[in-house]
């Protein structure tokens, strides 16, 4: 599990590498939340291009971060999910709630 951060203007870019499941999600959650608090940003871009596996724990992780971003009036974007990740995003109907940057 690896989470890396960068900035794009007013957005925190969160690059997640590897697998998101119940085991890895809690560590990712803590790292993302503390970084988002520290940085003077409003929006979050979750870069999923290097996520190789995700189950419903990943949906929980995304929705939880979306709620935090929305609390401060920001925007959340999911960037470049792989086809197998898109499938679970579709099943969860998360696509209707969050902007997708394919």
């Amino acid at each position: 599990m690896n989470v890396r951060f960068s900035r794009e203007g007013n957005s925190l870019v969160v690059m997640i590498e590897g697998e998101i499941d119940h085991h890895t999600a809690s560590g990712m959650r803590e790292r993302i939340d503390s970084k988002f608090l520290m940085e003077p940003v409003k929006n979050m871009i979750l870069d999923l291009s290097r996520v190789t596996f995700m189950d419903s724990a990943g949906i929980g992780l995304i929705l939880g971060r979306m709620n935090r971003v929305k609390l401060i009036g920001g925007r959340m974007v999911l960037r470049k999910p792989r086809p197998e990740i898109k499938r679970i995003l579709r099943v969860s109907k998360i696509e209707e709630l969050i902007e997708l940057d394919a």
Binding site: H23, S56, G60, V91
Partner: protein, 142 residues
């Protein structure tokens, strides 16, 4: 229909074993040469079932989770069993978005994902005795 192969593995209800279990199940299914999509579906469904056993079956206690796979010529049957708390109301647990732990960002989507990604899903549970999830998936050849 006669099975052509079977395997059984058991492991402690530690969350680190979620990835172990889904990789084992998918590797076993791979010998039937299914598509990459079918293997991805199996990985995801097994991950959900094993996570349920660990979080809801055993919670803070430690127990054994059993993963059983039976391979038929064009189908795999996967069961995930725990001897934990059991589910009081299976119908409610299977309902989309129902969750007993929203504070941990559990979405209540586990059963929905299993139902969507597999071809059949049966849940047997007895309070105080445990839960058994049986799923099947058609393995179409490439």
């Amino acid at each position: 229909m006669q099975p052509i192969n079977r395997m059984r593995t058991e492991f402690l209800s530690k969350s680190a074993n979620e990835s172990f279990a889904r990789v084992v199940a998918a590797s076993f299914a791979a010998q039937a040469d299914p598509s990459i999509e079918v293997l991805a579906d199996i990985r995801t469904a097994v991950s959900e079932a094993v996570t349920n056993a660990i979080i809801h079956g055993y919670g803070d206690e430690e127990g054994i989770v059993v993963l059983n796979c039976v391979l038929y010529p064009d189908l795999i049957e996967i069961t995930v069993e725990d001897s934990g708390k059991g589910i009081e109301d299976v119908e409610q647990a299977r309902a989309p978005l129902f969750t007993t732990c929203p504070d941990q960002e559990r979405t209540g989507m586990g059963f929905t994902v299993m139902e969507t990604f597999m071809d059949s899903l049966e849940v047997e549970s007895k309070v105080g005795q445990g839960t058994r999830i049986r799923m099947t998936k058609q393995l179409k050849s490439r």
